[in-house]
Amino acid sequence: MYPLHLTVNGTAHDVEVDPRRSLLDLVRETLNLKGPKKGCDHGQCGACTMIVNGRRINSCLSLALSHEGDEVTTVEGLADGEELHPLQQAFVEEDAFQCGICTSGQLCSAAALIDEIKEGLPSVVTGQDPVELNDEEIRERMSGNLCRCGAYNNIVEAIRSAAGEQR
């Protein structure tokens, strides 16, 4: 067991971990935050997406120990107390989920996506142009979050609407 210090949703944690433990299993099992889901455990579905130091990652493919000192945000950290994050509200309004199992990952991805656009990070559809938020960009950038129920179009609507509100 190895000592680990990290911050999750603003709360500092000092824990002892098996070096094999993924960040996802640390959050779900050790810290008991069940929002992030395990859809594949191999970085192929996006249900476990968390935001680490401002960047979204697949928490299932990341050893907990490699996050010493990191700031982690999960779906539980998006809302401001009782008030839903604009993306959460938009997901409800646009019906951007059905079964809901991929939703926490979709939301973390979407929150990071909006920041990536602001930061000017390109995607493969950006080309040489300046980065802007449009449907093609959202679709490409959200392609790491599978949704078997097929809520994709509503997810795009929700992100567009929430990003608009934030401007």
Binding site: P19, G43, G46, R56, S62, L63, L65, L121, G144
Partner: protein, 325 residues
Amino acid sequence: MKPFEYDRLENSHDLSAVANGRYLGGGTNLIDLMKHQIETPDVLVDVTRAGMDTIEQRDGAVLVGSQVSNTDLAAHPLIRKHYSVLSTALLSGATQQLRNKATTGGNFLQRTRCQYFYDTKRACNKRQPGSGCDAMNGLNRFHAILGESENCIAVHPSDMAVAMAALDAVVLTRKPDGSERRIPAADLHRLPGDRPDLDHVLEQGELIVGVELPEKPPKLQAYRKVRDRSSYAFAVVSAAVALDVEDGQMRNVRIGLGGVAHKPWRASKAEAALEGKAPDTALFMQAMREEMADATGHGHNDFKITLAPRVVVSMLKQLTGLGEN
């Protein structure tokens, strides 16, 4: 996942203490394989906090630290402007989540996606030397048509490495004894031969510390990835093409192919056939047919022999103004 010791490298200039370890970068492939126990290191050395995370210009060349994330490399203004084939290749790979974690060095070292490599119940010489190759007479739509051996028909899955090969990038390494090597990106990976378990030429304990992108890359560059899904899929075939057109003649023609071989494949025969000639669709096709002269299909992947030339010809047409977007 087999139990292992976890260590962190603090200083990339001193590898003496970690010589027996396996280096951990972003881990997006290594952790995946460790969960399947296809990789079973005893000691894991996290190198993500040992520096090696900057991109800088030196004497015209661009030096990229091995721990620069795929996201940061693809987004860097120098890369987007002068090495767009690399930026596009990086952004064609994986997803934003994976690119945020994956590193430049690690991207080179990702292992094949061959389904028989991943299924530990099936025969695979790469995973278990001497066990055989179930892909040879099995499901091989994604497999190699060039440079394969009777022992292995796996392909290397990286997009980035194909662009690096086409750009004549140089991989910079350091060994535990402190010595350093400069390995052309196109020579980093091996053909399978009778040792398909070896993907590359690096020695135990040798660390990729960075990549050097040579100055004055060809001006016309493109990367195209043919895939079944429009995103988040490995290449059926991919191609990185870079060239200049000067006075109506093609110069510095570089063609890298992905999804066709055990390594990023430099189409040197085609490059030679095009060098110094005027752009011409028939010539493009003839050059690529020459490149494919020794290609062999294994059943499900026969079509790649037709597809790969079409992809490159289409790109050459586009880059030289003969084709449509």
